[in-house]
Point group: C2
Chain length 111, copies 2
DNA sequence: TGAGCATATGCCAGTCAAGGCATATGCGCG
DNA sequence: CGCGCATATGCCTTGACTGGCATATGCTCA
């Protein structure tokens, strides 16, 4: 199902793209420069991410603005969710008190 | 970093294996039968999962028992975590009240 | 409308993962 | 100690993905 989404995430460059987009929407050119990739390569990665439903293109002008598409991420997380209980249990067992590690629902201030 | 872990998850068969292991540890033979895969293929998938740190082999007798290794999952979730806030916001915006969707730290009761 | 920028696509060669088959290894039992 | 079961590994072929390059497309502006 999420099939393509997982495959998309398996590439480091693509995860890097997402990490940039997570902060703010970017135009292709910005990504090219930030990631030190060639323009065609970047476009191809974006295509993969787009078809995986992980990103969305906004401006259809000359500059195409890419943004994160949260819904697909939700699907990934949904798959991962059942497993979360497992390592939470393990951590508890180890006495890891760290209040909600970094796994909170809405904080994400890290770095 | 998690590099291999993502790649491992990109295969449906492997996710199926994990879904089985999540419920209880399984011997290779059980997986073969449950997933309708050939034995060598299954072993190879298990190898990938093992090297990705997603599973662990317990009994070193004739029957090798595979179990989920929670730690690697934590790494994946850690990467995913920053994105979680994004779709939570979207959902909130849409008026989704559902307290902490299913994203709590220690519940995961959803189906 | 013609030039130029930003982005996408096509084509090609190299690489890598996957499945099928045969076979090797590890282990317990008679 | 030799046999047989459970699992792992090797080899091979095929298909998919990647990056580089050249080039096509879409859009804006003079």
């Amino acid at each position: 199902m999420a099939e393509v989404a997982w495959a998309a995430l398996s590439d480091p460059a693509r995860r890097a793209v997402l990490d940039l987009l997570r902060q703010r929407p970017h135009a292709v050119g910005e990504l090219v420069q930030a990631l030190q990739l060639t323009q065609p390569t970047t476009s191809k990665h974006l295509r993969v991410l787009r078809e995986a439903g992980l990103v969305r293109v906004h401006g259809d002008a000359q500059r195409r603005i890419y943004t994160i598409d949260p819904t697909s991420f939700a699907a990934l997380d949904a798959w991962l969710a059942p497993y979360r209980v497992l390592w939470n249990d393990s951590l508890d067992a180890l006495g890891h008190h760290l209040d909600r590690t970094g796994t909170r629902t809405r904080t994400t201030r890290r770095t």
